[in-house]
Symmetry: C2
Subunit: 120 residues, 2 copies
């Protein structure tokens, strides 16, 4: 029924989320989702760890991005981001402990110019 459909929703199973493509502002594929970091308490996805195969000269290949640095494009069936290669080069280091550090979270949201999800 049209009346009850909600086509603005684009569902993905946690089983399938790995491998979703990521595109730059001009629509070129620059990478794909390696995995998401989910807050079990709130049920919110706060970070996507992206594998950037498209920026070949990068030292690392995996970079966590704040969720709000990505926007889902239904037509492309993938995410768009304004993040540049230079931003990735300059991005704050991270480790498994980073997720537990509000300082690191603040840095990475500042770096990508994304408002913190936890408010101010």
């Amino acid at each position: 029924m049209m009346a009850t459909a909600h086509p603005n929703h684009a569902w993905v199973s946690s089983e399938d989320v790995e491998g979703t493509n990521v595109y730059d502002t001009s629509g070129h594929k620059i990478g794909e989702v390696d995995h998401l970091m989910i807050d079990k308490l709130s049920g919110r996805v706060h970070y996507a760890v992206i594998s950037f195969g498209g920026f070949l000269s990068l030292g690392h290949s995996h970079y966590p991005l704040p969720w709000d640095a990505l926007s889902f494009d239904k037509k492309l069936d993938g995410f768009r981001t304004t993040v540049t290669e230079q931003q990735l080069r300059d991005s704050p280091d991270f480790s498994d402990d980073s997720w537990q550090s509000r300082d690191w979270e603040r840095n990475i949201h500042d770096h990508y110019q994304v408002p913190p999800y936890w408010g101010v």
Copy 2:
């Protein structure tokens, strides 16, 4: 640094979320997370599809629960739910199309007595 830690967060990678245990109100394991359904646009987990191995007499084994029917228990490192075997038996049928139906979503939130995540 204690000051910057946020121990209330319990992160899980989308790679690891499958298999997280689900416990009933008395702390017995009744199943585990098969997968989560994530809204790519909002970054919200709205449903967890649970495999109920603990309720052996059930006709089906996989049931979607509204995310808010689960609460994460850090001590157990798993989810707690008040959902009963009878509620599962009586739960609304679902198919792959269910995710696109606001009617179905309304039914299932009503059934498990969970307020709808989209407001009223």
